[in-house]
Assembly symmetry: C2
Homo-oligomer: 238 residues x 2
Amino acid sequence: MTTQSKVNNIFYKEGQKLLVAVDCIVFGFNRGKLKLLIMERKIEPQKGKWSLIGGFVQKDESLDQAAYRILQACTGIHDMHLDQLYAFGEVDRDTGGRVVSVAYYSLINLELFEQELLKEYNAKWINIDDIPELALDHNKMANSALEALQKQASIKPIGFELLPEKFTLPQLQLLYEAIYNRKMDKRNFQKKILKNDLLIKLDEKDKSTSKKGAYLYRFDLDKYSKIKSNEDSFYIKV
Amino acid sequence: MTTQSKVNNIFYKEGQKLLVAVDCIVFGFNRGKLKLLIMERKIEPQKGKWSLIGGFVQKDESLDQAAYRILQACTGIHDMHLDQLYAFGEVDRDTGGRVVSVAYYSLINLELFEQELLKEYNAKWINIDDIPELALDHNKMANSALEALQKQASIKPIGFELLPEKFTLPQLQLLYEAIYNRKMDKRNFQKKILKNDLLIKLDEKDKSTSKKGAYLYRFDLDKYSKIKSNEDSFYIKV
DNA sequence: GCAAAAGTGTTAGAACTACACCCATGC
DNA sequence: GCATGGGTGTAGTTCTAACACTTTTGC
């Protein structure tokens, strides 16, 4: 092959247009369990199988916008937290044709979730350690998302997203234990989480899980947004 | 809007096919400097401007394969380390039309790089703190890749990729200092790097940078591949 | 003999882990 | 009054950061 034709082959080669999808791994937290939102797949191939929430990217919307559009439609929530996870691009990942899928993951406060959408879309929340076989490569996506969540949970205060505005320390600890699938010592956990100085202790107690009641806290959003630019503003060793 | 038409709109909406590209951020290390490989852009728009190495994904190749194909062509290296960075999908990121680009980054041992390819492709290595204005959103990509490299360097022994097979501890420290753009204490650095127990001290010395000479080391690839499955097998606090 | 880079050890502070008992209250 | 979950402190260990002098050898 000549030099010029090599260059041609690599750089001038006509692009072939592909379908681009987004799939969303949506996490929620309730009663000490980390949950994943799945729905019945609406299109071929594998129509009717459980799958992540997804759709095709349109020509006039960005990847982020497509993910937001789909997630907003499926949860009823606005301004939710959304992170890109990974682009899945195996040739045969979708048996119906060549589709590149960009996966996003999102943390949802279940109190804001519109439950009636479950029926509308034939969707459900399942426990994270009870995920059925999903369509295409969606199990792989969900597993990657869980790994990403584990990394994120140690460097960002993700309780912001998954818990109600007011929550107790035992609740927050249950969240971390669910994410890492591991029991933690409550004294050490509280020391580590409070050291970040992003929690405000309230005078109220939540008595829904014990007779004594546990103090409610809320995140100091002001303080967090002020120091957010500094990536090291939160850290919890797990 | 009726429920059914909402469902139609989200899930059945015809996918619109888009161009998908890969762009590669290629790092090298030489004489204490971290380097980035850039080349003259070969296609419109912004033809002739400096840019990352990239090309279009073909219908019969995965994203990874496309990145590998392009990188292999531009460096002459086989089996190089390649990590997906992020999918850039703003609508107007390519002024020539809608293109979603999946960015990959790679660490290259400059001893293996085929220098004659620089002329062939009109490419060059530039210092990481001396990056010119690049085409499209390529500066953003390069910055993200550097951040990813910083994260990676603390949890994976990336010296494997960027240094020759035999190297000295001062060399390795220069690499870390270049990645983090910060001077480090050599005693503490050596303690931390040696604690991972992945370096083998050789009897040879490299006298190219001092009269006394510095001991050469090599990575214990066997040990690393055995424990690689365990993500925590390497750690250096930076 | 001296300049230039390589090699080496200690100490004080911070962070982490492990661990057990009392408290408040609804029943 | 007792069962249940919530709250709290300490001691030993490990990790980290700061810091300076000696060694080697080509010139």
